[in-house]
């Protein structure tokens, strides 16, 4: 397993390089000049010239890239044009918020989606299956923002059970932090739960027809053991792949959800940076997201190998 991880990380290096080049180039091809934004209303030519010098905007783009990449390797992703904070610091501050949201949403999605998928496959064609499918379909078709607003109105405004917005770091008060995040995580998790449910259902349906499930029954195992130990364990192999593919959806959804619940996370950082043409921050964010994607894929492959022993000795 360690050798496998090492190999995967080595292979990832060129990918990270390509991402960085892509990010850097694209950024500079986009219209709009951040220096003009920074210089303010007056657009004093002297200030503009000084700013250009300061941010090395006059150097050739390759020199700019090398300087940027060299610094990035040392953990220096530059300074935000707007807040003057180091980009890495900004990201390190906001990322845990979004990770907490995404992880909680994923847990909720897994806790709802996988059991629902197992049950509806097992009870295929009964009212339980129908109900699960109808709920899943609604979960997919209800837009996040609408569900979010409705939940805020009901749970926060009417019932006063949970706060409507805000954030509390996990390190300060774990329980309270989770409590504050539950509603946004639920909103973000439901659509994923629906997708997971449908994939789990179809994977379970094919696994339940397999010979080894019949063998498990022929041994006289209890239905619960047959379902979980024999069927679900094998059905999870494709489902894990789906979870990886959902990661992008999860991040995009997190950005939107943070806006609805005014959570000061990565999403807000992204939106602010893009609107202000804060090059350094956008570059840092995309780079970090790209690396996170690669890391997720490696993790998923590792999980895939654990679930699927046939892969292990290849």
């Amino acid at each position: 397993m360690l050798a496998f991880l090492g190999r995967r990380i080595l292979i990832a290096i060129p990918t990270v390089f390509l991402i960085s080049v892509f990010v850097f180039t694209l950024q500079h091809l986009l219209p709009g000049d951040p220096i003009l934004v920074m210089a303010g209303e007056e657009r004093d030519p002297e200030i503009i010239a000084a700013l250009r010098e300061k941010y090395r905007m006059n150097d050739p783009i390759t020199v700019q890239y090398l300087a940027w990449a060299g610094n990035a390797l040392q953990g220096d992703l530059g300074i935000s044009l707007r807040t003057q904070q180091p980009v890495l610091e900004l990201i390190a501050e906001k990322l845990p918020v979004t990770i907490q949201l995404a992880v909680m949403a994923l847990i909720i999605a897994i806790l709802i989606g996988i059991p629902a998928g197992v049950l509806s496959a097992y009870k295929k064609g009964t009212w339980i299956d129908w109900l699960a499918n109808i709920i899943a379909l609604s979960g997919l078709s209800v837009p996040n923002f609408w569900l979010g607003i409705m939940l805020i109105l009901l749970v926060s405004v009417r019932l006063g059970w949970l706060p409507a917005s805000g954030y509390l770091p996990l390190s300060e008060d774990p329980l309270q932090s989770i409590r504050v995040m539950v509603m946004p995580a639920f909103v973000l998790g439901t659509a994923l739960a629906a997708t997971l449910m449908r994939h789990t259902r179809s994977a379970m349906l094919s696994v339940l027809k397999s010979d080894y499930v019949r063998t498990a029954r022929a041994k006289g195992l209890r239905e619960g053991v047959v379902l979980v130990k024999h069927a679900l364990r094998n059905a999870l192999v494709p489902v894990v792949t789906v979870i990886t593919l959902l990661f992008g959806e999860l991040l995009a959804g997190a950005v939107l959800t943070e806006q609805i619940f005014t959570i000061p996370g990565f999403g807000k950082l992204v939106v602010d940076a893009v609107f202000n043409r804060d090059y350094a921050v956008v570059q840092g964010i995309v780079l970090c997201t790209g690396i996170a994607f690669i890391a997720m894929n490696i993790l998923a492959d590792a999980a895939y190998r654990v679930l699927n022993p046939r892969m292990s000795d290849q």
């Binding site: 339940l208 397999s210 010979d211 080894y212 019949r214 063998t215 498990a216 029954r217 022929a218 041994k219 006289g220 195992l221 209890r222 053991v225 130990k229 024999h230 364990r233 094998n234 679930l307 699927n308 022993p309 046939r310 000795d313």
Partner: protein, 335 residues
């Protein structure tokens, strides 16, 4: 005469897909005594597997239903017992192995665990005792280096080895009855012989009665004390192996005999019975073999009963034992 009640007494078993006209398995009866081996033989699709699955209570989740019949096994009717009672029996007093060793083991679990869980499903024993039992069983099915194999996954074993694992699993609780559904069909010829050898020896060692399903008369000759020949869902001839081989009385049995590969070493079937099995939606009301039968007459439009022809021998044919037919009287069967 001291005839203790048989280990398994199947009477009038009929299986049908709900809403279809003719049952897929029709009025099947046979008995099996302790320690005996019965072979059920017949062409593909004649209902051998359905019969076996029905006895094990494994038809659930399919559109197939047991319509009639009883199957008394150690005081329990396998066809009407509650699911929990059947689950308690399965893998314990009655076990089954399947045709496809490649897909019948769970690819995600170590084989030691797959055997041990069969033991623990029926015995309240600690994990390491179950594991020890698994190792012992692997040894008994003659798997080399059994102790080391416990932690291997099915994909690390050949087809023959996997079928040995299936046998080990099935016999782990010393069942009184083992149903083997074409256990060697998917294997190479040399491996087939080894597995059959193993099953015969283990059967003799443990006294486990076996129902061996096959479409290969060679297997029957090697394994069986008794034979039931099935055609299109019905038993057409039953008897001891000697009776059926030396004195076949049903035209279908005769056809099977002549389609057996000769001992001269030719591979495959030399003579096949012309025509094909009637499809389930198009079952004749009378004798189901009539369309392929060289002896068919108008009488055969009524279904022939499985009638006794001497002790233990029974044949379902109006014209058995066919002695009245001179060769010239046989009709031509359209191919």
């Amino acid at each position: 005469m001291t005839d203790p009640s048989p280990l398994l007494d199947v009477r009038g078993l009929s299986i049908r897909v709900a809403g279809t006209a003719e049952p897929l398995v029709d009025n099947v009866s046979f008995t099996l005594n302790a320690g005996e081996t019965l072979c059920i033989v017949g062409e593909s699709g004649c209902g051998k597997s359905l019969t076996a699955l029905a006895l094990m209570g494994l038809l659930e989740g399919t559109p197939l239903r047991v319509e009639r019949g009883s199957a008394m096994f150690q005081g329990i009717d396998l066809l009407s017992a509650a699911p929990d009672v059947l689950r308690g029996l399965r893998g314990d007093r009655a076990a089954m192995i399947f045709q496809e060793p490649m897909t019948s083991l769970n690819p995600a679990l170590r084989i030691g665990e797959q055997i041990a869980e069969a033991v623990r499903a029926h015995r309240d024993i600690p994990r390491d005792a179950a594991r020890a039992r698994a190792a012992e069983m692997l040894q008994r099915v003659r798997i080399p280096a059994a102790g080391k194999r416990l932690d291997e996954y099915p994909h690390q074993l050949s087809g023959g080895m996997r079928q040995r694992v299936m046998i080990a699993m099935a016999l782990a609780n010393d069942p009184a009855l083992l149903i083997a559904d074409e256990p060697t069909t998917a294997l190479d010829v040399t491996i087939q012989a080894q597995i059959l050898d193993l099953m015969r020896n283990l059967g003799a060692e443990t006294g486990t009665a076996q129902i061996m399903i096959t479409h290969d008369l060679g297997v029957v000759a090697e394994m069986a004390d008794k034979v039931a020949v099935m055609y299109a869902g019905r038993i057409v001839e039953a008897g001891t192996t000697a009776q059926v081989f030396d004195d076949p009385q049903h035209p279908y049995t005769l056809g099977l005999m002549s389609s057996m590969p000769s001992l001269a070493g030719d591979q495959g079937r030399l003579v096949t019975i012309p025509g094909s099995v009637p499809s389930p939606d198009d079952m004749p009301r009378g004798c189901r073999f009539a369309a392929r039968c060289p002896f068919a007459t108008a009488q055969c439009e009524a279904p022939p009963p499985l009638a006794p022809r001497g002790t233990g021998h029974a044949v379902a044919c109006w014209h058995a034992p066919l002695e009245d037919f001179a060769v010239g009287q046989r009709r031509e069967v359209p191919a």
